[in-house]
Amino acid sequence: MSANKESWGSRVGLILAMAGNAVGLGNFLRFPVQAVQNGGGAFIIPYLVCFLVMGIPLLWIEWSMGRFGGKFGHHSTPFILDTMHKGRFWKYIGVFGIWTNIAVAAYYCYLESWTLSYMMHSAFGSFNGMDQNGVAEFFNHYVNLDASTMGIPYEPIVFFLICLLLNTWILSKGLAGGVERVAKIGMPLLILFGVFLAYKGFTISAGVDGAINDSSVGLNFLWTPDYTKLWSPSVWLAAAGQIFFTLSVGMGTVHCYASYVRGKDDIALNAMSAGWMNEFVEVVLGGAILIPISIGYLGIDRVTELVQFGGLGLGFKTLPYLFLQWGPILGAVAGMMWFGLLFFAGITSSLAMGTPWMGFLQDEFNWKRKSAAWSFGLIVLVLGLPTVIFFNYGVFDEYDYWAGTVSLVVFALFESILFAWVFGMKKGWREITSGADIKVPGIYKFIIKFVTPLLLLWVFIGSLVTPKGGDWGAALSGNWVLDDSSIISKIRNVSLKKDLANAIAAMDTEKIKHLEDTLFFVNASRLLLVGVFVSIALLVYIAYKKRVREGKI
């Protein structure tokens, strides 16, 4: 039997930890940008539809798979999936549920460490007196590992280590004593900070504190529906993608957390409560901060320009400057709240990423909790350092793309097929409804069996062969040119090679050198990620053989 005797301390703690797992930096930085780029208020329709027919079913699938596996003493996806069908192949699909977390944690902890560092810089007034370019340059110097404004050598690496140590230490305290306790403190604080900043976002007046627009301008920009966008498959694809990232489904963390739920306890209501809490943070709070404040001070044109580079730029390069328009004291407080909120959103997710690996070592190799936690910290350090040192050579983005994007869709597709078609909907439905404290609508039997897997398949194929500019009309009429963002083009490094060809044509030697190095690091990081996947698969094989030897299988 497994040496793993962890359990949740309370139901509310479990829900807050599960919501914390889902709530991440993307709730505040990615959602508003996606909404603006995909039809404003009309984006919310495909977004909520995808939540109902893909998000909620996947939550129920993952919660019930986790609880089912937990009854057999399994707390990570390889052997959770293995209990669901006689095919030995499934445990290797379950490797995704450990690999994704390790690979995502490697760059996510770095991202999280920025928030910690920026919290300190906000508190110490590092941004005081800087103009907007100054704050943006501060960020560029930071990720380039240039000299720190506070005299700390290699400041990003120091903060990365602090962040990693903090995560490891909390993980070593266990589920109830570490993860749950952080969620119980972090989630209410996150909501409190979010409500304060949302209030500020809703009450900007043109002419006050240097604002050039009322809040209503930003809110109009975000919420005015462009219904013509509803007919665009790209918008639906973006909405489905956002649901994935925001709920942390397809990762293996939900399975892991749910595997510690008692066999007779509810999962249906718990999943709904955690899922809607995440939606509240994303739609209500996330939609009220970044865009309304940015537009209030910078105007629509400038923000439209900035959102092309994603939410990270706005969050780290722009907001610290805008907060200072409220005066040095309130600016510092708002900066600390903003980066504090992002930090809590980050740490409650990164802690979840550690638990599948720890559960696997504890279950299969009888490791003690502390050793398992420190091994996670060490692996993330080794795998994460390239994202810190070679940030400008695309390593960070490469991890994010393969582990944090593609892998989620692939794993979710497999698990939905396993659950609905291989394990079987009859047994699956019994698992979802067993011990349920709410009545699960019967229509979900149909949705889980047909709609969710088909939608996932469409998201995967749509990402694999995305047509140029998202123009599905032209693609379906026979002119299917792949977009540079499609998975196939990404594998072939099409975009990088185009840039390199242009640089060679322009005889820009500096750029040629940088792009050649980037190409090398991009390919090297892919090899590293594949190596980690194969190593975990090998460990799963060894664990399986050990089980056979010990007569457990």
Partner: protein, 53 residues
Amino acid sequence: MNTSALVVMLTTLSLVTGLMLYFFYRVLNTPPKPEPDSFLGNDDDLTRQNVAH
């Protein structure tokens, strides 16, 4: 704000906040299940799916 943006925003915010509060309220007000006793707690068909039965 323009009317259509206001309608979409208020509808969405009330729906999402309402459902979040409703489900959390249900969690807080559902009595905990009793600890399983030695009989009831072990009456599951705990068979791994690859074992013939």
